[in-house]
């Protein structure tokens, strides 16, 4: 439609954040899953440590059942997708039905996969749906502001998760530049100084490693 209200700008940013959270977590879990098969059945605790989540899952199976599929667990993957859908569903006229449906499909896939004996295959489908969501958004969402706001949310979330999950510096550097590129395209009051600061803190591997906490703090405010 072309004009984005304050509430919708916030919805778009959070849509970007929640879809990205579901996407990156789905992919990150594969590493831990593999370990849990026949190496360390408590490997998931390493994942919880990275995200600062409590050890409320008593076993590997409880972690899989609850962390992935339980809507009542606010930290679960299911909850992230439900929140993504909450933000997407009120943006149909901007996103288009053809784009919105991929979030719905990811959510449906996860709901139907509750009883599946191969949760990684379910997550693969979720990742595919979310990839399709972003592809469709690029193709169908006519409003550039709308795309930029979603992508600002997406890259803030991705960077935050990459830092928390200990992704290699080269990945963090790449995602920082993607975020800065998007920030340059939207008009937030303190964008310039935040962008500059982010650039400084990720200038090289040593600076990055010494400033992870500051980067995460900065990411909390960069879109406010």
């Amino acid at each position: 439609m072309g004009i984005i209200s304050v509430e919708k700008s916030s919805r778009l940013i959070w849509l970007g954040r929640y879809t990205e959270r579901a996407f990156t977590i789905s992919r990150a879990l594969s590493r831990y899953f593999d370990e849990m098969i026949d190496h360390d059945e408590y490997a998931y605790r390493g994942f919880l440590d990275c995200l600062g989540l409590p050890y409320i899952y008593g076993s590997r199976d409880a972690f899989i059942r609850t962390y992935i599929f339980d809507e009542n667990d606010p930290n679960s993957l299911m909850s992230q997708l439900v929140r993504a859908m909450d933000n997407a569903i009120v943006m149909r006229e901007e996103l288009t039905s053809d784009t919105l449906c991929y979030v719905q499909m990811a959510l449906d896939t996860l709901k139907q996969g509750r009883e599946d004996s191969a949760p990684m295959l379910v997550l693969q489908q979720v990742v595919d749906d979310l990839f399709a969501f972003w592809g469709s958004a690029d193709d169908n969402v006519a409003n550039e502001d709308c795309r930029n706001l979603m992508k600002c949310g997406k890259y803030v979330e991705r960077l935050d998760l990459y830092v928390r999950l200990g992704y290699p510096y080269r990945e963090v550097e790449k995602e920082t530049h993607k975020l800065l590129n998007r920030l340059n395209k939207v008009r937030f009051a303190h964008r310039e100084q935040d962008a500059q600061k982010l650039l400084e803190l990720t200038a090289d591997e040593a600076t990055y490693k010494a400033n992870k906490q500051r980067i995460m703090t900065l990411l909390c405010t960069v879109l406010s």
Partner: protein
């Protein structure tokens, strides 16, 4: 048709994929559920539609004239066609709308007229919905998906394309609009018809707004963007009830309305679709008088008939209702959505007596109708065709001209022997085909 039925599961899957749902509150909790779709369409022949088209346009034109009259001169009351009590006792009559002439003089821009077809094939009007009739989006998207799933069905049958609804809606909105943009005002995603709000916003290229996005300044309505810039709003297709529209005029406790909206409307600076105050014309009690309105305003005989209806308010009707309550259907005029509908034949003698007492106490609150044995339509259930009761909501759009959408929402009961087809009561829906020849 076999091919279409064979793809029914795929179509329902696509409907789920596109989030074609409706919301319902049970035990104070919001649930969203899929609206079950039956692939077997209702088929309306070309000749039948010609007749329906004429009758529906006639009815809606008369209803629009009635609304203009009621909020201005009230000639129909002065001339004794409508008893004064019926006007002022109607919950839908809003004194706040007195003297307001909406842009282009149109009150009911989107009219949802519910009809049933009796076994002798004649159509009866069950009720008029002139406030916020919902449901057009369901057959609209279903048709799109049916065509995808079974192209040959649409190649082999001469079916009028119904996918012009959004264009009709947009044309109508533009026709009545003051200078400014189109907005669909929604109470929010926890409204039962939220899918429809968002889908129609997408299809008409309108902004879907909540009240927080709109404000009124100098009796003009503006939509505020995220950078604080404002754009004038010319037309609002509101999907919230009159009483919540503007807390400065109606319910002061409304948190979903736009303060000052009615002043902007009164000043002619924004069009509201449908006009506030329309409830007076779709009151179940006023329904009885619609055939009289047609004669009064248009000087014509009604082409489409009401179901035989009795008003206990009138002595003669009261006696009939009391004597025949066991075989009538009684409707509470203030209820909607299938609620407040009681079939006398389903009541025990104690309950029948209690209802009789209630009608005696509040005769204006009820209408009673003969139960029309309307035709069953076949629906697919577990691979078998079974007969179920179904109604039709026809959509009539009034703008530059009055136009009937060549389709409609066919709702059916999923329970054998039930006459209640509302989605909120577990009903499903079908596409409605109008044949082009």
């Amino acid at each position: 048709m076999r091919d279409l039925i064979a793809h029914a599961d795929s179509i329902n899957h696509l409907l789920s994929r596109y989030g074609v749902k409706f919301g319902i509150y049970k035990n104070n909790t919001f649930h969203e559920q899929l609206f079950p779709f039956d692939a077997l369409p209702r088929i309306i022949t070309h000749d039948e539609f010609v007749q329906l088209d004429k009758g529906l346009r006639q009815r809606v034109d008369a209803l629009n004239m009635f609304l203009a009259d009621i909020y201005h001169e009230k000639k129909i009351v002065r001339d004794g066609v409508l008893p004064t009590e019926f006007l002022y006792a109607s919950k839908g009559y809003l004194p706040e709308c007195e003297g307001i002439m909406p842009p282009a003089g149109i009150y009911s821009h989107i009219s949802g007229i519910d009809l049933v077809q009796a076994k002798d094939k004649s159509w009866y009007i069950l009720e008029d919905n002139l406030r916020i009739p919902s449901g057009a989006s369901y057959p609209l998207i279903a048709r799109e998906l049916c065509r995808r799933a079974s192209p040959q069905t649409f190649r082999q049958n001469d079916i009028v394309d119904n996918r012009n609804y959004a264009d009709m809606l947009r044309d109508m909105m533009d026709y009545v609009s003051a200078p400014g943009m189109r907005v669909i005002l929604t109470p929010g995603r926890y409204n039962a018809a939220y899918f429809e709000h968002s889908y129609l916003a997408e299809r008409t290229d309108s902004a879907l707004a909540s009240n927080a996005d709109l404000y009124v300044e100098d009796n003009k309505v503006y939509y505020r963007d995220y950078l604080g810039q404002a754009q004038r709003v010319g037309v609002i297709y509101r999907r919230l009830s009159d009483e919540y529209l503007d807390p400065l005029t109606f319910l002061p406790e409304s948190l979903i309305g736009v303060p000052g909206l009615m002043n902007a409307y009164r000043a002619g600076n924004v069009a509201i679709v449908n006009a506030p105050g329309n409830g007076v014309a779709d009151d179940k009690g006023i329904y009885y008088f619609v055939p009289k309105m047609i004669k009064y305003y248009l000087g014509e005989e009604p082409i489409l008939h009401n179901a035989p209806t009795y008003l206990p308010f009138y002595e003669e009707d009261y006696k009939y209702v009391m004597e025949n309550l066991h075989k009538l259907v009684v409707k509470d005029v203030s209820e909607a959505g299938g609620y407040g509908v009681v079939f006398g034949s389903n009541l025990t003698s104690e309950k029948l007596e209690a209802l009789r007492e209630t009608i005696k106490r509040e005769p204006r609150r009820f209408i009673a109708q003969e139960v029309i044995d309307f035709i069953d339509l076949p629906i697919m259930e577990d691979g078998q065709q079974v007969p179920r009761k179904a109604d039709l909501r026809a959509f009539v759009l009034s703008g530059r001209e009055t136009r009937v959408w060549p389709s409609g929402l066919t709702r059916f009961s999923r329970q054998p022997d039930s006459f209640v087809v509302n989605s909120s009561q577990g009903g499903g829906f079908k596409d409605t085909w109008v044949l082009s020849r």
